[in-house]
């Protein structure tokens, strides 16, 4: 009787709870935050909820550190715990902490209630963990949706502002198209290979000689397009500037960094690992996407007066640089991606932090005009933004330079020095929009007609009329720490090198 039952009901999958601890911390954190957010006293909602979210992210980081160096396959092959997962989760949670701190006094959080806002932030991070750790097609898709759905809502969090709602709707529609494309690709991939797990897919491609099979190639094409949508790579990037501009600034900051890290995590696993036997089929397409992203991003960013739009285009270009590490498909390439993601995150978050500061302290919103003459009135803010721009442009003595150095090295080692030339030419173009920001900060005379402190109409995301608010000490602190990190890691980059040293271990790359 018991034996018959045993055959009828398959054994429950063994679950390594310790290995899942980062995911559990994020999900439990989001539930706790949601419940606490229901509490009556305003102080609990506005102060405790953000604090608890920071704690949840910190606990996750603790779990990541505890798991450091371990390798395991979780939940019967659904998730892969390895250095790549851990490094990217660390980055995502660090970005989450910054986003939570920037959201602390943000208008958006109170408009859709603090509990929901921060719970969704944690839930999106949980989705990112699932995505970067996913080891088969089904978990990948689950992770993708778990990441996307909370972000659709967060983008529209400023419910009284039309632009924010527009951003949410745009992101929802385009994101759904992307998801559908990925799903279609996955279905065909399963049809072609008969497998959902990444290692099995790789084995089937080699065994069945599928690299030229039309069904398989269609699947690869659909997956490529779908993920290019999700990672906002040209020519599938059109949604990005509008969404960044309309979203609450801390959310845009979080998306520009964490979503990018998650997207690169999954394309590394899917293409560099699962589809690696068919590299000749997808490599030229991704090279074309990389070059297009570098050109479109850098050219599109020139002349943007909205800083968030400018950073949106710049993030497209930066993703193009990152793709170089991906298409060479080497261990060094993966390490270079992880390194660059970290230094890019530091610089980009610093830039968004300054935007948050200026949105709250000036009345020009995220317009370039909000930065005019800032060096005179608040030099620290000016230095933070200057270092962020120089690092994004890859100027020596900033962390961004070392990141570019590593990517170029990866390209040269992968016999693609010409792609590195595209990278540096893109960087030269990028000076045409990074440097005017610096010039605006440091030029002495303020722009005529705009009072930097009050008077002008409230623009997108601008501070509400009335008393000029202070940005808050936590925002300033974040900015200063990030700026210090830019210089520190520009001069002493070895700690980051050590951090990402084993990023590609176990991925089977040369």
């Amino acid at each position: 009787m018991s034996a018959a039952l045993a055959t009828a009901v398959p054994a429950a999958p063994s679950i390594d709870w310790a290995g899942l601890s980062p995911l559990l911390a994020l999900i439990i954190g989001s539930i706790v935050v949601l419940i606490v957010g229901l509490a009556g006293p305003r102080a609990i909602r506005t102060q405790l909820v953000p604090a608890l979210s920071v704690v949840a992210f910190a606990v996750t980081i603790g779990a990541v550190i505890a798991l450091w160096g371990q390798r395991a396959v979780l939940i019967e092959g659904a998730l892969q715990l390895d250095q790549l997962t851990l490094i990217l989760t660390l980055l995502i949670c660090a970005a989450g902490i910054v986003a939570a701190l920037l959201s602390w006094r943000e208008q958006a959080a109170s408009e859709i209630a603090h509990g929901e806002f921060f719970a969704l932030l944690l839930l999106a991070s949980a989705g990112m963990f699932v995505l970067v750790a996913s080891r088969n097609l089904v978990t990948t898709f689950v992770g993708l949706e778990l990441l996307s759905l909370p972000l659709y809502i967060l983008c529209a969090a400023r419910v009284r502002e039309q632009r924010s709602l527009e951003a949410g709707l745009k992101y929802l529609i385009i994101g759904s198209v992307g998801s559908a494309t990925v799903l279609y690709g996955f279905a065909l991939l399963y049809g072609a290979t008969g497998a959902t797990s990444y290692p099995q897919i790789a084995a089937k491609i080699t065994a069945g000689g599928l690299a030229t099979d039309p069904l398989f190639l269609t699947a690869v094409a659909l997956c490529t397009v779908g993920f290019a949508f999700k990672a906002s790579l040209a020519p599938f990037h059109q949604w990005t500037p509008d969404v960044y501009q309309g979203s609450p600034t801390p959310i845009a900051a979080f998306m520009s960094v964490a979503t990018k890290a998650a997207a690169f995590g999954v394309i590394i696993r899917l293409f560099d690992v699962a589809l690696s036997p068919a590299i000749d089929a997808w490599k030229p397409i991704w090279i074309a996407i990389a070059i297009l992203s570098i050109i479109v991003g850098n050219v599109g960013a020139i002349g943007q007066s909205s800083l968030k739009r400018m950073l949106a285009y710049s993030s497209i270009a930066q993703a193009g640089y990152l793709l170089i590490g991906f298409v060479v498909a080497t261990r060094l390439g993966i390490e270079a991606i992880c390194f660059y993601l970290i230094v890019y995150a530091i610089a980009n978050l610093a830039a968004f932090t300054v935007i948050v500061i200026r949105e709250r302290e000036s009345s020009s919103g995220d317009d370039l005009a909000s930065l005019h003459g800032v060096a005179g009135s608040s030099p620290v803010t000016a230095v933070v933004m200057t270092l962020a721009m120089l690092s994004l442009a890859g100027i020596p003595a900033t962390a961004g330079f070392i990141g570019k150095f590593r990517l170029i090295e990866a390209a040269a080692q992968g016999d693609m020095a010409w792609l590195a030339v595209v990278l540096v030419l893109g960087s030269v173009i990028s000076l045409a929009y990074y440097l005017p920001v610096v010039a605006a900060l440091w030029r002495s005379e303020a722009q005529p007609g705009i009072d930097p402190h009050r008077g002008a109409p409230v623009l997108a995301g601008g501070a509400p009329e009335g008393e000029p608010v202070k940005a808050g000490w936590e925002v300033k602190l974040v900015g200063v720490l990030l700026a210090a990190a830019i210089i520190f890691f520009g001069i002493v980059p070895q700690p980051i090198f050590n951090l990402v040293a084993d990023a590609a271990r176990g991925l089977g790359l040369s």
Partner: protein, 506 residues
């Protein structure tokens, strides 16, 4: 005594940082004190350097970034010894000028910090013995100039500085790709090293050398600037503050010339030989174009700017003659031009002070009348600029042409025209501003004590170099023969191969 190059390297930046936090009125004094200390230290270095032994001395070598194989490696050799001293001299002159001429400027602390950073970066580029470190300093030295121009620059500064950055970074970043590729290709079993000594041991294949050399050459030629790559120069020169421009024109262009000798020729000898004529054409074109433009423009600054293009053309010509005398002359000319051009930039400011603030030579004239001593100083500097016999510039240009005559007669003949043209533009500048009819707004006055404080020491150095050019030439001989060795070997190998092939066809 033991000399630590790291102290020389970081002293300017350290004083800049002190000046930043110090009270505003002290900032310029602190900046000057830092410049003087560095000057004193480099003079000690000059005295202490063992000329008989030659080679690299005071070597510092620490592994800086292990994962990238970048070493913090500094050394002094015959190649950079005098250039280091020249750098200290010009930065000191600039610090004196900003103290005496703009005592009530804006944000003096920040200005001092940026000048300190600029000096540290330039010294770093001169002393670096690691390819990546050189590239880092080479790019870094541009950054302070961005802020110096944006904050203190002329009316068109925003567009001018953007153009300057775009031009120079195209070259610099291609050089970066080239440098990294060099390191990757020369890596031994996955252990990259960018030390110049290591890289020289494993020469690259001839085809890889080609594009990498062109990347380096482009970076250097843009920075100088040389003829077709000078698009940033008019705007950039017109919008820089005087004390900044003096440093920029005197020193930054020399880093580029030095880069050819220190980096491009020893590491990519085959490619240097292959592209010798191409670079020489650029050099000769720069000489002719720069001289012609210097003769036609009316802004005193731009006359000096275009004359720099011509002078740097001579320096490049001397280097690419692959002849020891040519390279020695080029190195001597680098020092000469740095001092003379730097001094003349200050003279432009003094002229402007006497002609109602205008730097157009059409607004000047008759300034010599009330200022005989100033006229004398200006005349001596003009003679040096046009390479009058008796000046060190004459010796240098003579050696450059001598070296070129031996190897490439045609280029030498065309370049000789440039020597004559220099007399035209230098005397035109002098005569129209100092003599001629007195300009409408000209109010001439004698050299003031403050002006003399800046210009007289530079003048004395010009005279000293004229009397004793050996000061620069004797260390240069050791340095250039090292720098040219690989190229000369490659050249003779290629000539031999060509001769053999020639014989084969017959």
């Amino acid at each position: 005594m033991t000399i630590h190059l790291s102290i020389i390297l970081w002293l300017p930046l350290a004083f800049g940082l002190v000046a930043l936090v110090a009270p505003g009125r002290l900032a310029r004094w602190i900046s000057l004190l830092g410049a003087l200390l560095v000057l004193a230290y480099t003079i000690t270095l000059l005295a202490d350097y063992d000329h008989a032994a030659g080679g690299l001395q005071y070597v510092t070598d620490v592994l800086w970034i292990r994962s990238l194989g970048i070493h913090y490696a500094l050394a002094v050799s015959g190649l950079n010894l005098v250039l280091l001293a020249t750098t200290s001299v010009v930065f000191t002159a600039s610090a004196i000028w900003s103290l005496v001429a703009q005592p009530d400027g804006l944000r003096p602390g920040l200005y001092a910090l940026l000048m300190g950073l600029a000096q540290s970066a330039v010294l770093g580029a001169f002393m670096a013995q690691d390819l990546a470190l050189f590239v880092i300093f080479f790019d870094l030295m541009l950054v302070p100039f961005y802020f110096l121009i944006v904050i203190w620059g002329g009316p068109d500064r925003t567009s001018a500085v953007l153009r300057l950055f775009l031009y120079t970074l195209v070259g610099s970043l291609l050089m970066l790709v080239g440098a990294i590729t060099t390191g990757v290709l020369a890596a031994h079993d996955g252990e990259p090293s960018f030390l110049l000594a290591d890289l020289a041991k494993t020469p690259l294949g001839s085809s890889a050398q080609g594009w990498i050399f062109l990347g380096f050459a482009l970076a250097f030629l843009i920075k100088m600037p040389a003829f077709p790559f000078h698009g940033w120069m008019p705007g950039g020169y017109s919008n820089m503050p005087i004390a900044v421009l003096a440093v920029f024109t005197a020193i930054l262009s020399k880093v580029a010339a030095y880069g050819f000798l220190q980096i491009a020729l020893p590491l990519f000898p085959d490619a240097a030989v292959r592209y010798q004529e191409l670079i020489m054409i650029v050099a000769v074109a720069s000489i002719l174009y720069g001289s012609a433009m210097a003769f036609t423009v009316t802004s005193a600054r731009l006359i000096l700017g275009y004359s720099s293009i011509a002078q740097l053309g001579f320096i490049v010509l001397g280097i690419f003659a692959f002849d020891n005398r040519g390279a020695d002359g080029a190195l001597l000319q680098a020092t000469n031009h740095a001092i003379v051009a730097g001094a003349l930039i200050f003279v432009v400011a003094m002229l402007a002070a006497r002609s109602g603030g205008s730097e157009e030579i059409t607004d000047m004239g008759g300034i010599a009348k009330g200022a005989p001593a100033f006229a004398a100083v200006f005349l001596v500097l003009s003679f040096a600029l046009l390479a009058m016999p008796g000046t060190a510039n004459f010796i240098a240009e003579f050696m450059i042409l001598l070296g070129t005559f031996e190897s490439k007669l045609v280029y030498a003949l065309i370049a000789s025209i440039g020597v004559a043209l220099a007399a035209f533009y230098a005397l035109r500048l002098y005569v129209t501003s100092m003599h001629h009819r007195v300009g409408a707004k000209v109010k001439s006055f004698e050299l003031t004590g403050r002006e003399a404080l800046v210009i007289v020491p530079l003048l004395l150095i010009v005279i000293a170099l004229a009397i004793f050019p050996q000061f620069s030439l004797s260390p240069a001989e050791d340095g250039t023969s090292q720098a040219l060795r690989a190229t000369q070997q490659a050249q003779s190998a290629q000539t031999l191969a060509a001769a053999r092939a020639d014989r084969g066809t017959r």
